[in-house]
């Protein structure tokens, strides 16, 4: 009985009282992998010259909405892409701002200028209802828009994550990329699960 009590105390102390040292990211594995995908997307997309004039300026990945990545981007502090540093900028979502009264529905985002400066903007699932508004707010600013929401490509987005057999895949709307003056390299297109290109559809129609 004494030994049992002793073991209980030890286990309790170890589990609930002792100091903690945690090694792994708190983000889910899914979003750790997606974070790495976003980093890779930057390598395979070309922005117009006016967007990347300063060779020393970092490439910015914007996250708008309720952030599921948590600390998944921490390793990026020591990494670069296209010889540039990569920085993460987080923005409150349209839904959050409107709920808290900081913004009305027809008003622009208070940080819209900073959002427009992003090279890649990930639209979080919490913003799924406001995707058209967010895409409209970055129109004409060559922002690579990415999400993991059904129907994203049809709503004007450029790259959408999908899940297949518990693995991350993605689909690309080349037409929307073209409208944003973005050039997506063929290496990335080849790996996409689905590629939407209205130019191909028109070509087929005219045949």
């Amino acid at each position: 009985m004494k030994i049992r009590a002793y073991i209980f105390v030890v286990v309790f102390l170890v589990l609930f009282v002792g100091p903690r040292t945690w090694a792994d990211s708190t983000a889910s594995r899914e979003y750790q992998v997606k974070a790495a995908f976003l980093y890779n997307f930057i390598k395979f997309v070309d922005w117009p010259k006016e967007k990347v004039t300063d060779p020393n300026a970092p490439l910015t990945i914007g996250i708008i909405g309720k952030d599921p990545f948590e600390d998944a981007f921490e390793p990026l502090q020591e990494k670069a892409a296209r010889d540039r540093k990569v920085v993460i900028q987080r923005f409150e979502g349209f839904v959050e701002l409107e709920k808290s009264g900081k913004k009305k529905k027809d008003q622009p985002h208070p940080k819209s200028q900073d959002i427009q400066k992003c090279h890649l903007l990930f639209i979080c699932p919490s913003e799924s209802e406001r995707i058209p508004d967010i895409i409209a707010s970055v129109k004409g600013h060559s922002v690579l828009t990415v999400a993991d929401t059904q129907g994203f490509l049809e709503s004007g987005g450029i790259i959408n994550f999908i899940m297949e057999e518990q693995k991350v895949r993605f689909e690309i709307n080349v037409t929307n990329a073209r409208r944003a003056k973005l050039q997506i390299r063929s290496q990335l297109l080849r790996l996409a699960k689905r590629v939407i290109d209205e130019k191909d559809a028109e070509g087929n129609k005219n045949k």
């Binding site: 903690r20 945690w22 990211s25 594995r29």
Partner: protein, 677 residues
């Protein structure tokens, strides 16, 4: 327990304590040192490599996924199984909310969802990858015979209550569905060997590979358990419950196109075990059971949100159980399902199956062998089902399922479910569920046509004291109606709560009814019959905290059951009224993992299970602890643990039909070494 064994136990205790304190110290020292390379790995992968990384659905998605189900489901993950260190499915199931598990002997467990558990429990549906896995002749799962290696299990889904059309016919009081890993999710070699202080061993090797469009997984395992008598001192009864089990499991997947997947598999197990007392008869001979499972399946995505599958499977089992019966049974099933969107906001499925079953209860020269009247028999089963899930609004979803089955040996019957899910918030972090269901359970051949005679009459040659005779031809399916309500809430990013309540009304429950002795010479005659109904009600509440650092989940189950008649025979135990469970896991620095499983079970009433030898086991506390350390840069792992720490041995529990019972080993220290390459 001998002095030598006691010294061994104490030594292992000491080692474990040292490990606990040892890595406590290393944790404190390492507190200031974060491993900067821990999650750099993904950023150094190419896109092609990232596309090969299997991901468990994120916590939020999983919470939403479970909250979107119209039935209460618990999931035991591969990690739960891995870190438990346990080597049998029933031992693993006992830590899930609402499960009732009693150990009868080292090979037999009474397992049930919300009670109604017994060794040959037919009130719970057992599936492997959605395919029927129950014993054909008794109608319940025989876990030791399943050709499943534990490290090949991706997850175990436990449905509490009637499963409805989604899980097939006979999803009566609950469903246990074992989902196995896809070959692509476990590529490479894995070897594992485990032993405990009694001399039990569990060794296993797996090879999974991918080549172009093909991938495959091959697993072989051997498990050996000594009898209870060898493990613990027992002066009252000589137990013969050893086992030796060879298992082989194989799965092959061919991705013909992006939209078409073909898979097939073959599993085989050979179980040799000691026999057990049944109806006063124990021969101390060995049982030999061969089980083979084969399947082939084609999955195809036709268009956006339209998919389907066609599947054939065949299960074959032959058994020589000298004290009980000898039989061969075979079922062949073909089934298909089509998923499609009939209109905006709807997701529908239709499907059906046809099954042919052949059972031969071979007669032997021993007049006390259990037989199936009319054997050999060929039976058939056909079912059709339809389901629809309608998203009426962003927050309100309605789901309906209906299924009809015709079993050649009983009657046409139906099962159905209707449920509404309402999200209290736009993000669906809080979801209410309200539903109703109807289910049935068709009695298997043992219940309908089984007969046996045991214990020779002391005064009348050729007569026997215990006589089981076949059931009347009008034996009806058991039926059940259920009302359910539930709530799933994601309180914070890490904290979720789930609460489910239910009321169930059972009809035509089958039990053993006594018959008059035609010759009035003191014999007991009994048969199976629809005795009466019952009411059940209760709730399960679970609180879970989980993130990448670990998990802690606590649950409480209240399961009450009241038969219409006071001493109504049920062929099963009632649920333990109060059950509590706790699982805790910590992932620490430098590859250490701590795991704890705890369970409290209230007294379990056996009065309705075995009137000849009723036992009321419990209350009991079960505590399992393991410590694991990753080795060789993550390619190896050493795990040490203790199962059932709080009990030196387990109380004797009688099985239905048995006149005797015996204690089984409790506290078990074990060690396991795994290597991957």
């Amino acid at each position: 327990m001998s002095a030598r064994n006691g010294l061994l136990r104490e030594s292992v205790f000491a080692v474990m304590l040292l490990l606990v304190f040892g890595f406590s110290e290393s944790r404190v020292v390492g507190a200031q040192q974060q491993d900067p390379n821990k999650h750099k790995d993904f950023f150094e992968m190419s896109i092609e490599e990232l596309m090969d990384v299997p991901v468990v659905v994120s916590a939020s998605r999983q919470a939403q996924k479970i909250s979107e189900l119209s039935v209460p489901v618990s999931v035991i993950t591969a990690e739960d199984i891995h870190y438990s260190g346990l080597t049998s499915i029933p031992e693993i199931l006992q830590f899930a909310p609402g499960m009732d598990v009693l150990q009868i002997d080292r090979n037999r467990y009474a397992v049930g969802v919300r009670g109604l558990h017994e060794v040959y429990s037919d009130r719970m549906l057992g599936l492997i990858d959605g395919r029927a896995a129950d014993s054909i002749n008794t109608g319940g799962p025989r876990f030791p015979q399943w050709p499943i290696l534990l490290e090949d299990i991706e997850r175990i889904e436990i449905v509490r209550g009637p499963g409805g059309a989604a899980w097939g016919a006979n999803a009566f009081n609950g469903v246990v569905n074992i989902i196995t890993k896809e070959p692509e999710d476990c590529l490479g070699w894995l070897t594992s060997t485990q032993f405990n202080q009694f001399g039990d061993s569990y060794s296993y090797i797996r090879w999974a590979e991918k080549m172009g469009k093909w991938s495959w997984r091959q697993s072989v395992g051997y498990q050996s358990q000594v009898s209870s008598d060898e493990a613990i001192d027992n002066d009252d009864f000589y137990s013969h419950d050893f086992s030796r089990n060879l298992r082989f499991d194989n799965k092959v997947v061919y991705r013909a196109t992006e939209d078409t997947k073909v898979s097939f598999g073959l599993g085989y197990s050979y179980l040799e075990s000691g026999d057990f007392e049944f109806g006063g008869r124990l021969l101390y001979k060995n049982n030999r059971i061969n089980t083979m499972r084969f399947f082939t399946r084609v999955d195809h995505d036709f268009a956006r949100e339209t998919s389907g599958y066609l599947q054939f499977f065949s299960n074959l089992s032959t058994a020589k159980e000298p004290a009980l019966l000898e039989y061969s049974e075979n079922e062949n099933d073909i089934e298909g399902q089509l998923n499609f969107v009939p209109a905006e906001g709807h997701l529908a499925s239709v499907g059906g199956n046809f099954r042919l079953v052949h059972i031969d209860g071979e007669r032997s020269s021993d007049p006390q062998t259990f037989v199936f009247h009319g054997s050999p028999v060929t039976e058939n089963w056909a079912g059709l089902f339809a389901m629809d899930r309608w998203d009426i609004t962003d927050r309100l979803t309605l789901e309906g399922q209906i299924r009809g089955d015709n079993y050649s040996e009983t009657q046409l019957d139906w099962s159905a479910r209707i449920a509404g899910l309402y999200a209290l918030d736009d993000e669906k972090n809080h979801v209410l569920r309200l539903g109703g269901a109807r289910a049935f359970r068709a009695p298997a051949i043992t219940i309908r046509q089984g007969s046996a005679q045991r214990i020779p009459h002391p005064f009348v040659p050729g007569a026997y004291l215990l006589n089981l005779v076949p059931a009347p031809e009008d034996l009806h399916n058991e039926g059940m109606y259920s009302l359910e309500a539930g709530y799933t809430g994601r309180i914070t990013k890490m904290l979720t709560i789930r609460a489910d309540g239910y009321y169930q009304r059972f009809e035509h429950l089958i039990g053993f009814a006594t018959l008059p002795d035609p010759l009035s010479i003191g014999r007991i005659f009994f048969t199976t019959a629809n005795i009466d109904g019952a009411d059940a009600w209760g709730s399960e509440v679970e609180l879970a905290v989980e993130d990448r650092r670990g998990k802690l989940s606590v649950w409480y189950a209240y399961n009450d059951f009241q038969t219409d008649q006071e001493e109504q025979p049920l062929r099963a135990y009632l649920p333990a009224t109060h059950k509590v469970g706790l699982t805790g896991r910590l992932y620490l620095n430098e590859g250490w993992t701590l795991n704890l499983n705890y369970r409290y079970t209230d007294v379990t009433s056996g009065e309705h299970a075995n009137p000849l030898n009723p036992t009321n086991p419990g209350p009991s506390n079960t505590l399992d602890l393991t410590v694991a350390k990753r080795l060789f840069k993550g390619n190896g792992e050493l795990l040490m643990g203790v199962a059932n720490l709080l009990a030196e041995d387990n109380d004797a529990v009688s099985a239905v039909g048995s006149l005797t019972d015996h204690e089984t080993p409790g506290r078990m220290f074990f060690a396991r070494m795994q290597l991957k390459f």
